[in-house]
């Protein structure tokens, strides 16, 4: 028997992409790794500090706080956007003129650039000229996102939900549309309640798209920078200083390149780890349902 011939020419085809990735990702990453193990007093003089920055960072309260805020933010965002997205997708019409109307209005927020979204909500929430801020103030509600941490958080969460729930909706809607009619008819005949239909037909069939939605939303929200930077700048105090904002403050504001580099790496690894955990858990749910056995 003749083994299949392996064609080495293909490697040359991959070379340009490899170089591009090297320049855009690998080399910068290595630079960061390089910075993270050195200290500098300016003048381009560096000296070796080993793992010091990492040790210091991991024990620093500042990092702990930013990390907790970040986790809390992503947690809140996911627990609002995923269920809300599913509910909206379920409520959307499956045929008729309503379909394009819903799809387009759902897609609109996704088309707006991040910094514009931030600016919109920054103005929207202002007590003096913003519609939201002004109306709330007029109702006698004490709302001022530049002063109170809670108001600041609520504003940023509302903004993110407004901006990104559509993505979950569109993904879930695509999942729902792929379910054949026969399933709904069979469920009707079996006397299944609306809830059972959701639990046993819609949710299992949406599982794959939901996995993608959760991963996308988690990664995005964990790295959020532009919008809170535009709205609150990380304040009041440090209350909305998420990891990315803290990182920029450290690296550019204070020019602490070493610790900032160490933080970037930890940040990167945390995202990688959490995504892996999410992926494993959610695909295990799928495995379990396909592997059988009790």
């Amino acid at each position: 028997m003749i083994e299949k011939q392996i064609n080495q020419k293909a490697w040359f085809m991959v070379l340009p992409v490899f170089l591009l990735v090297a320049f855009s990702a690998i080399i910068p990453l290595m630079t960061v790794v390089n910075y993270s193990v050195q200290d500098t007093f300016g003048n381009n003089q560096f000296f070796w500090v080993g793992m010091d920055w990492f040790r210091e960072l991991i024990h620093s309260e500042r990092f702990h706080d930013a990390f907790l805020r970040q986790i809390m933010f992503s947690g809140i965002i996911l627990s609002i956007e995923i269920p809300l997205g599913i509910v909206i997708a379920l409520a959307m019409p499956k045929e008729g003129w309503g379909v394009p109307v819903c799809l387009i209005s759902m897609a609109l927020p996704l088309l707006i650039p991040w910094n514009v979204v931030g600016t919109i909500w920054q103005i929207f929430g202002r007590v003096d000229i913003g519609l939201l801020g002004h109306s709330l103030a007029a109702l006698g509600i004490d709302y001022n996102y530049t002063q109170e941490p809670i108001a600041a958080w609520l504003t940023i969460i509302a903004m993110d939900v407004w901006h990104w729930t559509s993505l979950v909706v569109l993904l879930s809607y695509a999942g729902l549309c792929s379910i054949p009619d026969a399933y709904y008819q069979a469920a009707k005949i079996d006397g299944a309640s609306r809830l059972s239909v959701f639990r046993y037909i819609q949710l299992p069939k949406m599982q794959r798209v939901l996995l993608i939605a959760v991963l996308l939303r988690f990664m995005d929200s964990f790295m959020i920078y532009t919008e809170p930077f535009v709205i609150t700048g990380g304040g009041p105090g440090n209350s909305t200083t998420f990891m990315s904002i803290d990182l920029v403050k450290m690296a550019i504001g204070q020019f602490d390149l070493g610790p900032a580099a160490a933080m970037s790496l930890i940040y990167f690894l945390v995202i990688l780890l959490l995504c892996w955990i999410f992926y494993t858990i959610m695909s295990n749910v799928g495995e379990e349902s396909s592997n059988g056995g009790v």
Binding site: A186, K188, P204
Partner: protein, 362 residues
């Protein structure tokens, strides 16, 4: 359990209309007796699935009424009709085990665990699923999945009817035999009314006691498999049932004689004279034609093609330009391309304008 009556049912997908062409289902009346095994047979687009959906309540007919015994259920939604339906592709709940799948319709109706368990186990035994009861359903083969779909229909003792919408489409031929005979066995055991929609005549004829043949939104014949085979009331039925279908050939009719391509054939029945402009045709099953050596009494034909399909042979012959199919298992010695075609006149049917006409036994 109930008799199901369709009263003046008609359906158009575009709403009420005066144009008869808009109707996917033209006006029809039909009664399904409790406990019967029925088949709805017809080519795609003949309205058979529409009819099935009207019975199950997935569609509300444009006109007419659906009665379960004497109760008008025309506008009653599916879940309140006590109907089970099995679809073309198996519908199973992926995340549930086989047991949970089978128990689902009972659980939804608030039955207790003590009621459900023995029933599920008994049914699983009948379906041959007892080994897989605690396996997740999505991991089974297509035929096992289809058995689960069927099982969910059979689990409720009180269903009015079980409807099948081409349930064997995705099943391999050898397994079809097993499932079909099991279905028939279950029908005998449970005595539910079963309505089976298909375009496959073998499935329809073998399953049903009574077959309803549909064509372009109308019922063309209701009858036993035997009647459909022996005395098709419409040329379409003759063509559609049987493989190959009935040979249909224009002829002239005078009393008990017909003339086919200039050859006179004496029939064993005498037919009344027909209107001069009507289209008269002879219908004869390939099974009732036989071949003899050339020169013997009968119709002189030319053999065009002989195909051995294993169990018997299908011979295509031509009488002038008219072609006939002959089914025979005795083709030995027919070496020439000429032969004599012999018609078994006891099984010959005469059609006027596509409808069967009856004659007096001579």
């Amino acid at each position: 359990m109930a008799n199901i009556t369709l009263k003046d049912i008609a359906h158009s997908y575009t709403g009420v209309s005066d144009n008869p062409d808009d109707y996917a289902l033209k006006k029809l009346n039909l009664t399904w007796r409790d406990g019967g095994a029925y088949a709805l047979l017809g080519p795609s687009g003949c309205g058979k699935t529409t009819l099935l959906n009207i019975i199950s309540g997935l569609l509300v007919p444009t006109k007419g009424q659906v009665l379960f015994d004497d109760e008008d259920v025309t506008k009653l939604p599916t879940e309140h009709r006590n109907i089970a339906q099995i679809f073309q592709f198996p519908v199973i709940y992926d995340t549930m085990t086989v047991f949970q799948n089978l128990a689902f319709p009972l659980k939804n109706r608030g039955r207790t665990k003590e009621e459900i368990e023995p029933r599920v186990i008994e049914l699983a035994k009948m379906l041959g699923l007892e080994k897989d009861l605690h396996t997740k359903a999505q991991h089974l083969t297509a035929d096992a999945k289809q058995k689960i779909s069927l099982g969910r229909g059979l689990i409720r003792q009180s269903v009015n009817a079980i409807l099948f919408d081409e349930p064997l489409t995705v099943i391999d031929p050898q397994l079809k035999w097993e499932l079909r005979s099991q279905l028939k066995y279950l029908h005998k055991q449970f005595g539910f009314t079963m309505i089976y929609v298909t375009h496959d005549q073998t499935e329809a004829l073998t399953f049903a006691n009574e077959v309803i043949v549909m064509y372009e939104g109308e019922i063309v014949q209701v009858g036993t498999p035997e009647a459909l085979f022996e005395r098709p009331e419409h040329t379409f039925v003759g063509y559609f049932i049987g493989s190959p279908g009935m040979n249909i050939c224009p002829c002239e009719l005078r009393g008990d004689r017909i003339t086919v391509e200039g050859h006179e054939i004496v029939l064993d029945r005498t037919y009344p004279p027909q209107q001069s402009n009507s289209k008269i045709e002879l219908g004869i099953r390939p099974e009732y034609l036989s071949l003899a050596q050339p020169g013997e009494p009968g119709l002189p034909v030319k053999i065009i093609k002989a195909s051995d399909v294993g169990r018997h042979m299908v011979i295509r012959v031509a009488l002038n330009n008219r072609e006939f199919n002959v089914v025979t298992s005795d083709f030995e010695g027919m070496t020439k391309d000429k032969a004599t075609l012999i018609i078994d006149t006891a099984h010959a049917n005469i059609y006027a304008n596509d409808h069967l006409i009856t004659g007096e036994k001579a």
